[in-house]
Symmetry: C3
Subunit: 342 residues, 3 copies
């Protein structure tokens, strides 16, 4: 067999390093497509001039372009036989990514735990995206449930990594030179600054997008994510193509511009759940909750910790039922830090 059958649970061992294939050079083409696929309007990613006035050499690519690119490379090695994508932690956007950069991904297996049914197990990996200068541009932990090749194979020693529930504010990586002292609120689109947001505040982002098959497939392909279930109607009994969770993430983040236009740069991902599957025809809306605020040691810059929720039209603020189960219309529950002007 020359084709890739993917790794099964038995193929993962703590300490293993996995070099993922197919490095990728990003250009203005990827940036333009990101704007065509998502209603992305954050000024620092949209305008070289705005980025320069914020101390950067030119507009960095949206942090999620980096995330999807790095993530996509891991799919053939990590999640081709995954039953479920269980969570994210300790995601940090370490360096801005610019057009012309070439990204590749490496992962380290940091945890394994066989399920009690003996049919599958959970694998934790820490994935790092590197640019052409071998600088880490982003890093995150993800854990997935993976099928066993052989139900009878012996369970490995359980190792569950200790993960921070939240990236500490002191660990937020501020891009070198970033400076919001001369921030232009009119060009950014909203007057709200750090001081205007309070923990507990809920923001309904109002806008909605009805998703088409062609759009989510183009997006997912753009990141060279080859998971069959997104592209091939023969992969699920219901004949539907499951939408890549990252597509919903980017869509929700773009929709959050309306109310969080000044949450310019994603600094960290603390955690995230793809609460329910998303399919073409769904109309996705988004709301945010301010979870925390932190001062940052950089000129004019503060950080907001935000919960970003994507749903199929559910009310802002509605998330879980009394038993702690996600409402059926909730698609994504993402916990992240963003840099805002003070």
């Amino acid at each position: 067999m020359k084709t890739n059958a993917g790794r099964f649970f038995e193929d993962f061992a703590v300490g293993q390093e996995i070099i993922h294939a197919v490095p990728r050079t990003l250009s203005g083409g990827e940036r333009a497509l990101y704007h065509a696929l998502y209603p992305a309007c954050h000024a620092i990613h949209s305008s070289d001039e705005f980025a320069r006035s914020s101390g950067l050499p030119e507009a960095p690519l949206d942090g999620l372009i980096g995330f999807h690119t790095v993530f996509g490379k891991t799919v053939p090695d990590i999640s081709l036989n995954a039953v479920a994508n269980l969570g994210y932690a300790e995601g940090r956007f370490l360096k801005p990514i610019y057009t012309g950069d070439t990204l590749r991904s490496v992962s380290e297996v940091i945890g394994v735990k066989q399920n009690s049914n003996g049919k599958s197990g959970v694998v934790w990996v820490r994935t790092t995206g590197l640019n052409q200068r071998d600088e880490a541009v982003l890093s995150y932990v993800r854990w997935v449930m993976v099928k066993k090749r052989d139900v009878g194979s012996e369970a490995p020693e359980t190792v569950i990594p200790k993960l921070n529930p939240v990236v500490a504010a002191d660990d937020l990586p501020v891009p070198k030179g970033l400076n919001f002292s001369g921030y232009d609120f009119a060009l950014a689109g909203e007057p709200h600054r750090f001081a205007d947001y309070e923990a507990g505040e809920i923001i309904d982002h109002v806008d909605g997008v009805t998703i088409e098959e062609a759009e989510h497939m183009m997006a997912t392909r753009l990141w060279q994510n080859t998971a069959k279930v997104h592209f091939d109607t023969r992969q699920r009994p219901d004949g539907r193509r499951l939408i890549y969770g990252g597509h919903v993430m980017s869509l929700a983040r773009a929709l959050s511009f309306n109310g969080l236009a000044n949450a310019q740069l994603i600094a960290a991902i603390n955690g995230g759940s793809h609460a329910n599957p998303c399919f073409a025809g769904d109309t996705v809306t988004a709301w945010s909750e301010v979870l925390d605020k932190a001062e940052v040691d950089a000129p004019g810059i503060g950080a907001l910790r935000l919960r970003l929720v994507a749903s199929k039209g559910g009310a802002a603020g509605a998330l879980k039922d009394g038993a702690g189960k996600y409402n059926p219309d909730v698609l994504l529950d993402l916990d992240y830090w963003a840099f805002v002007p003070v």
Copy 2:
């Protein structure tokens, strides 16, 4: 409320200047997407070499890329609560736009008139697109009908701007250096020159395109146009997504290549009506009428004034009924000037 509720009729006053948000840097990515979304073939926008042989430093972006980008920025401020987009006038393409340019938009309110029903009013704005050197790259007047916030609020003094029905030939902005003396008709695709077109002539552009939801949404998003009705099936009682009028404009202009391949650059927009709504599934065809011709003080260059009509398959030349009402299949009636080789 941190989200943008848009301006209502009462929020506009003659003389007001509105700085629109989110500057945008354009790249080869936007050019490529324009070619993927529209059957655009005009050689001067397709080939750096052809543009150089015409005296320009490289291929300028299609004038309508500039128009849509500048227009898109105005939506959150001007037309979020618009009931109808009533017209355009005095559109002038002042400078070519090149990849790497960053565009932003400003508008001045030049007219207001409350409707007799007291529920809405008409607002006229003159919008200017500026590049990173603060040079005006295009300018146009548009008027929209906007809802009142409060039906009981007092009507402002009526001001109706005096607008030229047609941009005078002497006012057509010829890009610096443009020279069609050595024009290559074979590479451009057609032999027809200035002298071959006569006022009154009707050209049936023959080709048609059946529109998909994914295409018009990607196009409209690419210009950061956030009008809800284009993206969200919950916005209209019939559950259909209304296609951005500018999408039909670009589609019709691209289709007009077949018969007007040498109408290389749009110089001005004299007026335009979105006669009927367009929806996915419609098959759009186009025809043109030569309205006028003018000599231009630039080497090898003339100007044609053209009516460009997009319809859902209607016959070339068929526009209005006896009462002066647009036929139900007519989507767009655009009056513009284009530069052609003499």
Copy 3:
């Protein structure tokens, strides 16, 4: 009539040179769109760094981007009145194409043969793509069946060109500087090298893609291919849009990454048949057969001759029935050479 009615059979004469219109400058935008439209993962086209480590100045555009661009320009002149696209031969990818290159196309008529029914005839053309330095970047022969304008017109003298059934291994154009001596199999995605492939071997590429209308239309437009039947539901009695054969070609080639990740560069096209029409909704899968192998006079490089078959989910290896007729699920049967590391 100012629109292009296309050439009929009578308009072709052996020896004729046809200069095709609309040169096209390619950028990172076209590369990004190729990745969005096809699951393309070959490392040399994806990463500037990988290309540099292989002796090239940067990542060349996928050879099929060049092919489609050059082919698209020929449509208005060669195949607007074509009844069928009959075959390809002697396709050679003469020079890598890089972002910033401007391509144009010229064709020479090398054969004509009227059909016995007197209603149509076969035309053979050799098409060459040229870059902005007038260097030939690719060349191929294609033959099409074209309608006659007038059934009564006299038949021309029959000229059937002598075509090589296979491009000889010695004639495969190796890009200057290409060197696979330091090839990184981990980054390329698979360990299989020249020695691991044997003539007769069948590779099932496993993955599948269900095609959407928006995708194939965007792809086809991107190459400025204006054949009506791909875009306009009024063109066929069944109201379906026929998918451009080249779309299936690129899709199948991209799918072949899984099993042929190291078949990095297409060197030549020996032949190809669009066995059955493809429509939106079809789920396309692919398989390859190794037809031949050849040593190449370049460091670390060998060549595989491959049959690439796209089908609507047919079994790997299944191609024709006992009578030599393609199975109804077969869409494409392409015979090509690719460069691989030894």
